[in-house]
């Protein structure tokens, strides 16, 4: 049997930045674009590979999850698969009916009603009119929008929009389903419905290609995983292998090469008496003192932040920037340095943690400098509660019935700390 999706040694080149073509070039440029063969392999000025030499195949009934950091080329792969883009090199073939959910509500027109939009979006996805008519009630019911079907879509909430969009796509019955981060829409109940739907598609023999940042969903619902990074395929294998590779790659990239625009000069972790510490107990107050430097180039775009990760798994437990935390400070023009103190309470339980600092530019999605770990902290505690965060739970007995066989003796515990191990 031939695989439903074949991606054979595909590369895709993009241009960075704006083009400044003048109208004078219009007609010759149009003609040459239509008929000229381009040099496929050379990278011109301002060009880069969004996807480079990537190959994979997905058979019917199989699910492939594509994971990786932002800008790795995941969405480009989906656009290549759904024929929105054409590969610069290599071949990409999809057999059968394709349902592409790059953006579920892309075709909606705000002035039209839900009903009108179902027909429009259905047609955009390639459904025929009788097909839409036949499945119309199911679509509306799946989205739970029966009462709003004759309301213009501009009055819908974004969740309603997404639900209707997904619902239309879910009733397409495609042979190949291409999905970009769909599970982030709707409430928990709707997300579960979406997952159930995907699983039933898969068991009916549809091939699914799925982009996600939800690693847990990837590991539990998909057979295979593809890890992308900077346009290259870093790992292709079982979903859990790819997730593991992603986690370890993230751990290996602890320090970003220091950037000319901004960086971290020094970091220290101190206690209330201003002494450098590496150990703490739950409830202690610590301060992370970070000195950042900046060159003066677009300084107002920079965010200065700190985050906390679990030293074993690398799970990010906390992440905030000074701006998020309400710090009102505008950097002076020109180069300079700033020392920021992040004071926090150690609401952590026993374990080892990394306290980290970073300076980034969210506009270009780039972390300019990062210290991970900037400091270790080992939290000691003398009572046995498991987990990683200290929720400071208190428990009390509200009622107890003497003579019942289930409860041997009533216990009253005022504080978790009283329950020693």
């Amino acid at each position: 049997m031939t695989p439903a999706v074949v991606f054979d040694d595909v590369s895709k080149k993009f241009r960075r930045g704006e083009r400044h073509d003048s109208l004078r070039d219009l007609v010759p440029a149009l003609f040459s674009r239509a008929w000229r063969r381009r040099r496929a392999d050379a990278l011109g000025d301002q060009e880069f590979w969004a996807v480079r030499d990537v190959s994979f195949a997905v058979s019917s009934g199989e699910g492939l999850a594509i994971i990786g950091p932002n800008g790795a080329g995941k969405s480009t792969i989906l656009k290549l698969l759904s024929r929105i883009l054409k590969p610069t090199r290599g071949a990409c073939a999809v057999h059968g009916r394709v349902g592409a959910l790059i953006e579920v509500a892309a075709g909606f027109h705000p002035d039209l009603t839900g009903r009108e939009n179902v027909f429009l979006q259905g047609a955009i996805m390639g459904m025929t009119r009788p097909e839409i008519v036949r499945r119309f009630d199911e679509i509306v019911e799946f989205a739970s929008l029966e009462q709003f079907v004759d309301t213009p879509v501009k009055r819908y909430s974004s969740g309603m929009n997404a639900r209707l969009g997904f619902s239309i796509a879910a009733h397409l019955n495609p042979d190949v389903l291409i999905i970009d981060e769909i599970l982030s829409v709707g409430d928990m109940q709707f997300q579960q419905k979406c997952i159930d739907r995907l699983i039933s598609f898969k068991s009916q023999g549809a091939a699914i290609v799925f982009v996600s940042h939800n690693l847990q969903a990837v590991a539990s619902y998909f057979d295979r995983g593809l890890l992308m990074d900077q346009g290259h395929c870093r790992c292709i294998g079982s979903a859990s292998e790819a997730v593991a590779a992603y986690a370890s790659a993230a751990a290996g990239r602890k320090t970003v090469a220091s950037h000319a625009r901004a960086g971290i000069v020094s970091v220290s972790l101190r206690d209330r008496n201003d002494a450098v510490v590496s150990e703490a107990a739950p409830g202690d107050e610590l301060s992370l003192i970070v000195t950042y430097r900046f060159s003066g180039d677009r300084t107002h775009n920079l965010i200065f932040g700190m985050y906390v990760t679990d030293s074993g798994m690398g799970t990010r437990l906390y992440n905030a920037s000074a701006g998020d935390l309400g710090l009102r400070w505008t950097p002076p023009p020109g180069p300079g340095q700033v020392t920021i103190k992040f004071r926090f309470r150690v609401n952590l339980l026993r374990g080892a943690y990394h306290i980290n600092a970073h300076v980034s530019d969210p506009l270009i999605h780039e972390c300019l400098d990062r210290r991970e770990p900037a400091a270790y902290v080992t939290v000691h505690e003398d009572f046995s509660v498991q987990g990683s965060t200290n929720l400071d739970v208190r428990c009390t007995v509200l009622a107890s019935e003497p003579g019942s066989s289930d409860i041997d003796e009533p216990v009253t515990v005022g504080d978790t700390r009283e329950a020693h191990d």
Partner: protein
């Protein structure tokens, strides 16, 4: 050559596959245009009517000219055709850029956008014909056997419109100057065609230029067939050949560049 034929086959097959979408897009544009508009389809006849009155005043009171039929009838027929041509092109110019979300997120043949703009203008054209029929009855224009030419004239008119529409939509996607240039071009073009005055007696280089305009034989053909009960001018044949050639060429170019739209929009 073989590649061209394969492309043509693919283009037509895609249009057949996505026929429902063309219908939905046309329906969408019609509904959206007249939603929250009190006069609705009245707007389709309002512009040519106002222009007819305006030019009637100019060309009968200020500078009177000879026309083969009563001037208001002459002018409305021209303005009705021109208005549909102009509005089809105006919607096409922006049809790709105003749907950038669809162009960059969903795959389907992008010709659907200019084509649906043309179908919308065809609906306007049909509405406008009601006014023309009323005027024809008012001026006692007899219906003749040459009306049988009308479908051919109509096809030439819309095939040519489609050719220009495809090129404009495509060009505006790559160079946004096109939509501004279009506004200038369409004004000049209108006065270079027999829309509000006859051009058959214009001599010299100017006359030659006016007769080289593909819209000239199309407009003259409408008038001959509808108002004068005579066959269309021979030049319509040349216009038809040009329209067909331009249409196939424009569509091929559009189709071959389609896959770059998502990157450039």
């Amino acid at each position: 050559m073989r590649a061209l034929i394969a492309d043509c086959r693919e283009m037509v097959a895609e249009q057949i596959e996505y026929r429902e979408l063309l219908r939905q897009m046309t329906g969408r544009d019609l509904r959206v245009r007249y939603k929250q508009a009190v006069m609705g389809f009245g707007w389709a006849i309002f512009m040519p009517l106002v222009n007819t009155v305006l030019f009637s005043v100019i060309f009968t009171r200020v500078a009177s000219i000879d026309t083969p039929v009563a001037y208001p009838l002459f002018a409305f027929c021209g303005l009705w055709v021109w208005n549909s041509f102009e509005s089809a092109l105006r919607f096409s110019v922006n049809s790709l850029t105003s749907n950038s979300n669809l162009v960059s997120k969903v795959y389907f043949p992008r010709e659907i956008f200019p084509f649906s703009a043309i179908l919308v203008s065809l609906v306007d054209f049909a509405v406008g014909s009601l006014v023309l029929i009323t005027l024809m009855i008012w001026y006692h224009v007899p219906a003749g056997v040459n009306l049988l030419w009308l479908p051919i004239v109509l096809v030439v008119h819309f095939v040519f419109t489609a050719a220009v529409a495809l090129v404009l939509a495509l060009a505006n996607l790559f160079y946004r100057d096109v939509k501004y240039l279009f506004e200038v071009m369409i004004k000049v073009w209108m006065f270079a065609a027999p829309v509000v005055y006859p051009v058959d007696r214009v001599e010299g280089t100017l006359g030659l230029l006016l007769r080289l305009n593909p819209m000239t034989p199309i407009l003259e053909a409408y008038r001959s067939v509808l108002l004068l009960n005579s066959p269309p001018p021979a030049a319509l044949g040349a216009a038809a050949a040009l329209a067909l050639l331009a249409f196939v060429g424009a569509w091929l170019m559009f189709h071959r560049l389609e896959f770059r739209f998502a990157e450039y929009i």
